[in-house]
């Protein structure tokens, strides 16, 4: 579930211009596929309320429950007689929303804590590292389950649960970046001129750590999507009638029609896979173009 290879705290070639990066990025096929897939998925998510054939919140036909794919319903219908295509389509939107918010949450909190730990060292570092070690001592899904159980089912608690899992990852990454940066010449110079810590951290260290953070965030969206779907599958996900992909799988499984009406699980699962795949490819591509070392 983790990214394929750890994001190394590589130093960014600051002089490389945006154009150069762009060129490098687009040379990688995987990055290109990832980019295209991501754009398509995001577009689908944005357009869901406008283009989807049926409204999953209201369009339901009990008489046509669990009907196999047909001309009217390309992907069949679910246990409520709702159009699977519309459901999955809307589900992309919800799943993407969850991942974006939760990764944003993990990114902000994790980065801040990482910056503090790396820059101030001392007690700050000891306590924050201890926290990180503890959070990492739980298999991530277990941690997410714990948070979701405390918060109760619902979109907001899923976002929070998945976000908490991301925090230690960003703490570690940021901290190691800061540790290597703070000894570098330009930071030493700024500090010698008497700049305040806040200024140094946000004006000098943070921008320099941006690239690996972006890479990790992209990869994290994939992980977060998987974890959110996992929570949904365990019944800790979105509340009805919000169509969330993991919850769709859960409904089909616990209501007993997953195996007799396989179309109810096929597309939701495939869609999760595609979303994760897209962000993994994109993240890999970004890493390759931002990290000169990886361009073997």
């Amino acid at each position: 579930m983790e990214s394929l290879e750890p994001v190394a705290p590589f130093s960014v070639a600051r002089e490389s211009s945006f154009k150069k990066l762009q060129k490098q990025f687009l040379r990688s096929i995987s990055a290109r596929i990832g980019l295209i897939l991501t754009v398509v998925i995001v577009l689908l998510a944005i357009l869901a309320p406008i283009l989807r054939p049926f409204d999953p919140a209201t369009a339901r036909d009990f008489a046509a429950r669990l009907s196999p794919p047909s001309w009217e319903h390309w992907l069949g219908t679910d246990g409520l007689g709702r159009d699977m295509l519309s459901l999955v389509w809307y589900g992309i939107r919800i799943s993407l929303l969850i991942s974006l918010v939760s990764v944003g949450l993990g990114l902000i909190i994790g980065t801040l804590l990482g910056l503090v730990a790396g820059y101030f060292r001392g007690w700050w570092e000891t306590v924050i590292s201890w926290l990180t070690d503890i959070l990492l001592a739980f298999p991530s899904i277990l941690l997410a389950i714990a948070v979701a159980t405390v918060m109760g089912a619902g979109l907001r608690s899923v976002m929070l649960a998945v976000g908490v899992v991301q925090i230690p990852i960003f703490i570690r990454l940021t901290r190691s970046m800061v540790l290597s940066l703070r000894e570098q010449g330009f930071i030493q110079t700024v500090r010698a001129f008497g700049a305040k810590p806040g200024r140094i951290i946000f004006l000098h260290i943070l921008p320099a750590s941006l690239a690996p953070l972006v890479v990790q965030a992209t990869l994290s969206i994939g992980t977060a999507t998987l974890e959110a779907a996992g929570l949904g599958f365990l019944g800790l996900g979105a509340k009805p009638p919000t169509p969330e992909l993991g919850t769709m799988l859960s409904d089909a499984f616990t209501n007993g029609y997953a195996l007799s009406a396989p179309w109810t699980i096929l597309m939701p699962g495939l869609m999760i896979t595609l979303i994760v795949l897209a962000f993994n490819l994109l993240g890999d591509g970004l890493r390759d173009s931002l990290d000169p070392r990886a361009n073997r």
């Binding site: 096929i29 209201t58 007689g81 499984f253 616990t254 209501n255 495939l270």
Partner: protein, 550 residues
């Protein structure tokens, strides 16, 4: 790193396409030809394999209520009174005959002689007394209440424990070795039926003494007089029973061994049944009926309906306090259409709270709520809610025989209510919390719930939902008339006089619409065709002693 993957794209998408095509080609309805040897997996004819919905909570009689436990206990223990196969009529069990005194307050049971528990302890009146005191008397040495045991079901069915004012039982006396007597505070016509319900198996006092507070948990030895002896319980996996060679009913049990396998999800249970690794199972989802019928190795089995699934409307909340609003809600639900589509024809919907087998206590002329959204809208407007209102509705997180797929059913309710302007917010929480929290004041606003009868008496349905103490979850709703009728019916031993009392309660319940009856379902069970002799009980606790495998 991945720059050179010229062929990536193709490979990747071929992969995805392959999965899609393979799976969509696997048509689920493809019927299966009978297999000749019935698949060897479930073993030989001397072992019955039952697909249970999960681990029993405990094998200690009187201290659990879940059906997974009751099913196992049914095989290990006998009760004083048993039920005729497939019905709610009584027949002798460990007691050969029973009778009430003139005033209906003393019940005397003649016990079967020569019966021994699996551990050799003789079964007699003293043993019965020990068991009853465990459940009833908080001071019983063998009750182990200091270890957290409560025997809540005793309180549920008999009012309370020894020493409390609500306890129906006053004394339990050993008359002689084979006679036991129960003295009640007031007449209770359904006493033998209640003491014969699946919860109250008679366990060996010696075994309880030996195991102490651990009696009944995995790792301890559950000892009764029943057709099967407890062998082993591997938690999360299976439980093994073997034949009791000294069983008092000649010729039973018919099969040497019984294995309970714990498979939580209905789809997984059906898959196991189809693969032949289990022989029979319970609680199949109605949506699986077609799949079940398409497999020629399987046979659908229907449990006689003896339950009710209802939508409770809590009158302690503002809009629901008005009777008209509750009636409007009942009127806006298209119950027939919902029941037809979600239960695959395995259920009926009518105006009664009690199932059809108790119809002698109902007035058949009682009309049902008409499905009329227009009228409902008007009623809401008249009651002061022309624009509808917000309603928080709770649905169960688990499947139960009366609501096999609660979530989609709840969404269907929500859609119907939305059509008359009631904005429903659906909510759920984990099952244990769901059950507990509905009693927390002020309770849920509206919620789905249901009931399967413990024994074949209207008291068990109506008193517990509309009588004193039974309405905590609907904001202590109180209807003096209903309370009076229910108490009156309890003290009446003449059935012909009880019937009109109960049918009046049904009418009040219908009119008040605090628990809108949605459905009486026929739980769907399934077996392989080589199994015979399985007669499901409406009470969901039949014996396996009569089942054979070819």
């Amino acid at each position: 790193m991945l720059r050179r993957l010229k062929r990536w794209q193709a490979v990747l998408f071929i992969f995805a396409a392959a999965i899609t095509v393979t799976l969509s080609n696997c048509a689920p309805q493809s019927s299966t030809a009978p297999t000749t040897n019935g698949s060897a997996a479930a073993g030989d004819a001397s072992t019955l394999v039952f697909g249970s919905g999960g681990d029993p909570a405990n094998l200690e009689p009187g201290n659990v209520e879940d059906s997974n436990s009751i099913y196992v206990q049914q095989q290990i223990y006998d009760r004083l009174v048993e039920y005729k196969p497939g019905s709610t009529e009584l027949e002798p069990g460990l007691a050969t005959e029973w009778s009430a005194s003139e005033d209906g307050r003393t019940w005397t049971f003649k016990l079967r002689q020569g019966v021994k528990f699996h551990d050799g302890t003789p079964f007699n009146a003293e043993a019965v007394k020990v068991n009853v005191e465990r459940w009833w008397d908080p001071k019983s040495k063998l009750g182990f209440r200091d270890a957290g045991k409560t025997y809540a079901i005793w309180e549920g069915l008999f009012g309370g424990y020894k020493g409390s004012a609500e306890s129906i039982l006053q004394a339990v006396n050993v008359v002689d070795d084979s006679t036991i007597e129960f003295v009640l505070k007031e007449p209770f016509a359904a006493f033998p039926a209640a003491i014969g319900s699946g919860y109250f198996g008679i366990a060996s006092p010696t075994a309880i003494e030996k195991a102490g507070a651990d009696y009944g948990i995995a790792g301890s030895q559950a000892v009764g007089t029943g057709p099967y002896k407890f062998v082993e319980w591997r938690t999360g996996d299976r439980l093994l029973l073997e034949k009791n060679p000294d069983y008092w009913q000649a010729g039973l049990p018919k099969t040497e061994k019984v294995v309970f396998r714990f498979i939580k999800e209905p789809s997984a249970r059906l898959a196991e049944l189809r693969s032949g690794s289990i022989d029979f199972t319970v609680d199949i989802a109605p949506d699986q009926l077609k799949e079940l019928q398409s497999d020629q190795n399987l046979k659908e089995v229907r449990r006689p309906p003896f339950n009710v699934g209802y939508l409770a409307l809590n009158p302690s909340y503002e809009p629901l306090a008005k009777k008209e609003v509750r009636q409007a809600i009942a009127m806006s639900l298209n119950r027939k259409a919902i029941v037809d589509s979600f239960w695959s024809g395995l259920a009926t919907s009518n105006s009664f709270f009690m199932p059809e087998s108790l119809k002698q206590y109902q007035d058949s002329s009682q009309a049902d709520y008409e499905y009329n959204p227009e009228k409902a809208k008007k009623m809401l407007a008249d009651a002061g809610y022309p624009d509808g209102f917000d309603l928080e509705m709770w649905y169960m997180p688990v499947s139960r025989p009366y609501f096999p797929t609660p979530k989609p059913i709840a969404e269907a309710f929500a859609a119907d209510l939305g059509a008359v302007g009631i904005r429903v917010k659906l909510n759920t929480k984990d099952w244990a919390a769901y059950l507990n929290d509905r009693f927390k004041k002020p309770g849920y606003q509206a919620f789905m719930m249901g009931w399967t009868g413990d024994y074949g008496d209207p008291d068990n349905f109506l008193y517990y939902h509309f009588g004193p103490g039974g309405t905590k979850d609907i904001g202590d709703w109180k209807n003096a008339q209903a309370f009076k009728l229910l108490d009156q019916a309890r003290q009446e031993s003449d059935d012909t006089k009880r019937a009109p009392l109960y049918s009046q309660v049904e009418k009040i319940a219908f009119d008040e619409a605090v628990r809108v009856p949605i459905v009486h379902s026929e739980p769907l069970l399934a077996q392989r065709t080589n199994i015979s002799g399985w007669v499901p009980s409406p009470l969901a606790n039949e014996t396996f002693a009569t089942i054979e495998k070819q």
